[in-house]
């Protein structure tokens, strides 16, 4: 049975890869498995990365991962992904996690295997054994794409996790001779406070299925998660508790009243259940858990659709096969540490957007109502302020076109169901959080559209983009439309908003132009120049204006803060955000030389590391450059865009070396659903999309001796870096398909046509490459 299904799983993989010539398949599969083996999911679980080490399939709805106990008096920020590598106690395994966010939420349906006496509370972190939390050590802890294992040392329980798209699978091997229990705690989550859980339910069915739901007011309001859980052994007893106290009127208790062992169901806001299992030495307990945004019945249907049996190993093998296929999109020849960094970055790039749809196509939209996906697969968890920059452009190169179309269809469906009529801003599990700024679903759609990904209603897409850019009540947009900038006396962080709106407007103009909608193109091309309203020629910085047109005073380019002129940054960080018009930016500064000199001042500044202690997210400092946060991500590439590629090459080495490493603390900032990782992947390959929608990638410098993109269209694009080593990090010359490359950027069509980009590396900068007469990138020529 196992082998048969395994074979079927592989067939599925083959089918999904059908664009790749079959003779290449075997080699690709083998290379994919090598790529899988190179991944270290612990990277980013320490430091500022906020990744998690648990089990997930690419873009899966389930992220099953251990949660470590939050230290008393610590903020939620550091535990946004549930697990911190420097912790020593595990509170359980929950089924939903963000990969790399700043805010915390999710952590739904915490399951913890214990033995001996049943404890219902986590206990005091400083008193081992005072609660159900268990100590663990990294010895014997295993994390692979699709698999995680740890020994819970307080109980001597070996816990293994794996996952399919909608099902998390646990395998617990209990120590002999002690009563075995499984706790299901609906109270706990990444950041738990009174009132976060609005309502919840645990229900034990006659056939031994446990279902339930949890509705929370967390980062997203009123989010509902339903689940269904089945066990490979009979439940021999159970107890359901509501630990909430001081409720004025709780209504009538269920049958069995105060006897938690007799309750078939419990509802409340602080629920925990314990299930008992017979001691059975050598026979692990397998627990399979499906979630659903729709209902408990739907969760059962998801469970049945994806896992009819309890074959943990088959699910694990399937997860591995899926990862091998996904990671096989890029073949890399490089030393082991670089391979680990690279494939782990690629792995982290495949965490989101995540599947958000039941097996029958139903999901919950931003109106909190249930919708049926027609003709597409619905995804959510759009960290758009981050991911529009490099993650989505990467996914267009390394994921099937259908998946990219599905992302866009999901965005459009969300817009259709939005109570506000706008595309998602920062949405997860279908719900809008309104986090960060801009309307960056727009450049995601625009970039895909411009690259020929058009498997959706393109007219509706343009309408949705225009509607999102025209919704007055949103973040000063009414004033922006009136004044050409967001006035700081009426809206916080006005400088950043003006800049990012202008970029998004340019993206709309690009699409409208391509569609022949000249009226819209003209309207938004005009808005795309609104960055000029933020530029202060006197100081050379982008600044926030007031309604009366004057800049807000006093001005300190080093100042930052929530509600300041800027969003998670200061003037030194935000003043370069004109990726669509670097020529204009240079002109505003009085010429490219002056702009580039100012960029040097960014990197070379002496900055007190404590400058940003009052703010989350601004990390990874090199001078004022803050690689740990997204506003800096295009900055090093501006040298090349503005005509000095060697200076980009010069900057990238230290960034890669200082901001990434193949260690748990190897990400200098939140991975932000893969944006930090996507930056790494592009930069390692040797190019980066500073302005999604332009169909161009600015060439930096390669960090891999050889890399091949196995493109969704079946073609291959190889980047070779002859002579690359630490001492030879500059591009001496470059050819594309054997012809000299006379420009410091690639066009999207260069890549998708397949071929070879060949760099010859050298020790010293070649300031003459690509030369004075080189072709100019979009942002220098429009």
């Amino acid at each position: 049975m196992t082998n048969k299904v395994k074979a079927a799983g592989l067939l599925l993989v083959v089918a999904a890869c059908s664009a790749i010539p079959s003779k290449a398949l075997a080699a690709t599969a083998a290379r994919g498995t090598e790529a899988w083996a190179a991944v270290d999911p612990f990277i980013g679980t320490g430091g500022e990365g906020h990744t998690f080490p648990g089990a997930v399939v690419p873009f899966g709805m389930i992220q099953l991962s251990p949660d470590t106990q939050i230290k008393p008096r610590k903020e939620a920020y550091g535990w946004a992904a549930g697990y911190r590598h420097d912790d020593s106690t595990i509170v359980g395994f929950s089924h939903t996690h963000f990969s790399g966010t700043g805010h915390s939420d999710l952590g739904d349906v915490l399951v913890m295997p214990i033995s001996g006496e049943v404890k219902l509370e986590r206990g005091d972190i400083d008193k081992p054994g005072s609660g159900y939390t268990s100590r663990f050590s990294h010895e014997g802890e295993v994390a692979q794409p699709g698999y995680y294992a740890v020994t819970l040392s307080d109980y001597d329980i070996r816990a293994e996790l794996t996952a399919s798209a909608r099902v998390g699978v646990h395998r617990y091997t209990f120590a002999k001779g002690k009563p075995a229990h499984v706790l299901v705690d609906l109270r706990t989550s990444m950041y738990d406070y009174p009132g976060k859980v609005l309502w919840s339910r645990l229900r034990l069915h006659a056939d031994g299925t446990l279902t339930g739901f949890r509705e929370t007011r967390g980062w997203a309001p009123g989010r509902q998660v339903y689940f269904a859980m089945r066990f490979s052994k009979p439940i021999t007893g159970h107890q359901f508790h509501d630990t909430e106290r001081d409720v004025p009127y709780k209504g009538f208790p269920p049958p069995g009243k105060d006897d938690p062992h007799q309750r078939a169901q419990i509802e409340g806001r602080q629920l925990v259940g314990a299930l008992d299992f017979a001691d059975a030495p050598g026979q692990p307990l397998v627990v399979k858990v499906a979630i659903s945004p729709v209902g408990e019945d739907s969760a059962i249907a998801n469970l049945d659709a994806e896992m009819a049996d309890f074959d943990f190993d088959r699910v694990r093998a399937d997860a591995k096969a899926q990862w091998a296929q996904a990671l096989g999109a890029i073949d890399v020849d490089a030393p082991a540490p670089m391979r680990t960094s690279f494939y782990t970055a690629l792995y982290h790039a495949f965490m989101g957007p995540s599947l958000f749809m039941d097996s029958d196509g139903r999901y919950r939209g931003p109106d909190n109502a249930v919708h049926q996906a027609k003709g597409f697969t619905n995804y959510s968890t759009f960290s758009l302020w981050d991911t529009y920059r490099a993650l989505h452009p990467l996914l267009t190169l390394v994921q099937p076109e259908q998946r990219n179309n599905d992302f866009i269809q999901s965005l459009l469906a969300a817009q259709g169901a939005s109570p506000y009529g706008v595309l998602p801003i920062w949405a997860f599990h279908g719900q809008e959080t309104w986090c960060m700024i801009g309307y960056h679903a727009v450049p995601v759609i625009a970039d895909a559209y411009m690259k020929g990904i058009r498997g959706y209603d393109t007219d509706a897409a343009l309408k949705a983009m225009v509607a999102s850019a025209s919704y007055g009540p949103y973040d000063g947009l009414a004033q922006y439309m009136e004044l050409g900038y967001v006035p700081i006396d009426e809206e916080d962080e006005a400088a950043s908003k003006t800049l990012e709106y202008a970029f998004d407007d340019w993206a709309i103009a690009r699409v409208a132009e391509a569609m022949g909608r000249k009226d819209i193109a003209a309207q938004f091309q005009k808005r795309a120049a609104n960055w000029r309203h933020a530029f202060d020629p006197a100081t050379g910085f982008m600044r926030a204006r007031k309604r009366d047109g004057s800049f807000r005073e006093p001005f300190d380019p080093t100042a930052s803060g929530y509600g300041s002129d800027y969003t998670e940054g200061n003037a030194w960080q935000y003043s370069w955000y004109v990726p669509h018009d670097v020529a204009g930016l240079a002109q505003a500064h009085g010429g490219a030389d002056k702009l580039l000199a100012k960029l040097d001042a960014v990197f070379d500044a002496k900055v007190d590391p404590k400058t940003f202690e009052h703010m989350e997210d601004i990390t990874g400092l090199i001078g004022w450059y803050a690689h740990g946060n997204e506003p800096s991500h295009h900055v090093a590439y501006l040298y090349a865009a503005a005509g000095e590629p060697w200076r980009t090459q010069q900057r990238l080495g230290p960034i890669m070396a200082s901001q990434y490493s193949p260690r748990p603390d190897g990400l200098s900032g939140n991975d932000d659903l893969g944006q930090m990782s996507a930056w790494f992947v592009f930069t390692a390959l040797g190019f980066y999309p500073i302005a999604p929608g332009s169909n161009e990638y600015i060439i930096g410098r390669p960090f891999l001796p050889r890399a091949t993109l196995n493109l969704p269209n079946g073609k291959r694009f190889t980047v070779v870096a002859d002579g690359l080593d630490d001492a030879h990090s500059y591009i001496g010359s470059a050819t594309l398909n054997g012809k000299p490359l006379d420009r410091a950027f690639l066009r999207h069509e260069d890549i998708v046509a397949g071929g070879e980009l060949h760099f010859t590396m050298q020790a010293q900068p070649n300031r003459a490459w690509p030369g004075k007469d080189a072709a100019q990138p979009y942002s220098m020529s429009h």
Copy 2:
């Protein structure tokens, strides 16, 4: 348009009445209108009745009614229906209400028209104008079946209400010259406390539709009500507020952030919105509101299905027609006050169970999941501990068989979806409250089945009854099955539970016997005798035993209290609960004479009215007899059942006179979804079903000179009381269809065959009627 639809509405009435010969229709419709005119919905809105005066159609999902402001430091109990006749301020009009409960809940979607300055809080009841609450007076207040009107004197707004099944319709005539607003308050309800509203939402759609939802932890846990609201005039402005403070982490605010005027949607736990309308003298604003248990879209669909326009008068006329048809089920000749009491009682008997299903057949079950009704109309609000006694038996006589079948199908569907596998105990809006004791869905089903109402899966019905009587965790049922009684040392109120379980068991035995299921019949016939385990021969009272078989001591037959031996009563009240075996009860007492003497002691006792001040519900005292609560309802009929009909006749007059009157405080106890009223209807007709399932009605004495039941099968059954007046209140003789009636009970077949029951009344008791050789009712002969 109006007349046309009105005509269609009448046609619908005609179609529904098709069982009645058409030549009789016109007369019936006219009599129905007279009956409609006789109803006074204010009866029961004062005192202990807990009824509401608002607009509803028979068994409708909407109960649109004014809510008066709860006085500070008052318990919710008195405001269970939202409105108290002795109050002088109205807080608004909400769309769901219980008719006559003890517990409070519902009061969903409070709408209040105001003018002038917008106030978001109710204000101080002692300071008029301090909040949005308005004063009102009973002058100019109108309540008719399907219609309610009042003048909100603080604003000089005339507010009128009417309803269809799923839509409540408001018509507001504003005074001139002041800004007109409509408040929608999702915070308030019958009994509001922090944490009652778990989550809620207000959403203003681009087309001016307001939708939303409210999820509450009230009497029922986790209940969800969705709504959709449309206005006959354009909304000129709005503001949405969340008045909750001190929430640790609220997530991100919606667009427009702190500007409540820009919010298209708001979510939270304490929401209130205000909508603005242009001042338009002489043009009333019509507001139509549909609710749904399923979703906001479903509420919109319900609105569209039932009311495409804003024709308030048509809906009002349709509601009137529905009531005229329903009330026309009984034609009564009697003096005006008696007609008012009688038809108001009949009106109150048609409040529940209430429709609980969207226009597309979907509803929410006890598992909180959405279900599709297949082949039936779903109802909820089953106050079964009350209504199995007389309300459901009444409805089998005066409502179409299909509706009675629908009730049973609804009960069976609920059992199928129950997490516990049991029939509803006390359910509303699909949710189980576990209120009161027993499994009295059983006698409802049994009574209908025995009367030939079998339009459902009868095998499934028997299984559901047996399952409900076999669910061990419920209220000491496991011990009851083990010991033959509920042990008081393990379960509260054990004496009452033992007695009521035994009756329900007898009802199962009756059905099983009729189905030829001898095994089940024998098993439950044996359980039906379990009342004997509660009987204490030494004291002559029913008492609670402990597991060791001894009665709990000390024993005080006058003692009552929550968690005592009895449920809402004492030994004097509960010791007669063997309606299925009065012969056995008499025998246990040492003969019928001794039983009857003890019953006299019940009625003739001198009882301090303060005895039950510590308990709700025990009201309407005549000696220990407490007519205001259900355990007493069959007691006066026991004389007749045990062979002394004249003593029942003697008792009934004072009960009718002291416990009912056509005034707001005219109900001596909670109407309990029509049980108090159904007792009145039966008693006024002259007979009462003491043991539903027996197909018998014990004859009391008539209170109406003439009454005709227009039966669902098209036949008529007339009761005539010759010579009836206050001085002639005893039955001298009786004939059925012209032949002397030699028994003090009716058989169900006597009634449904049609015919005439003719009483000759006299001044003195006829102790010889019906005679020593009279046929014995079931409970004296089995």
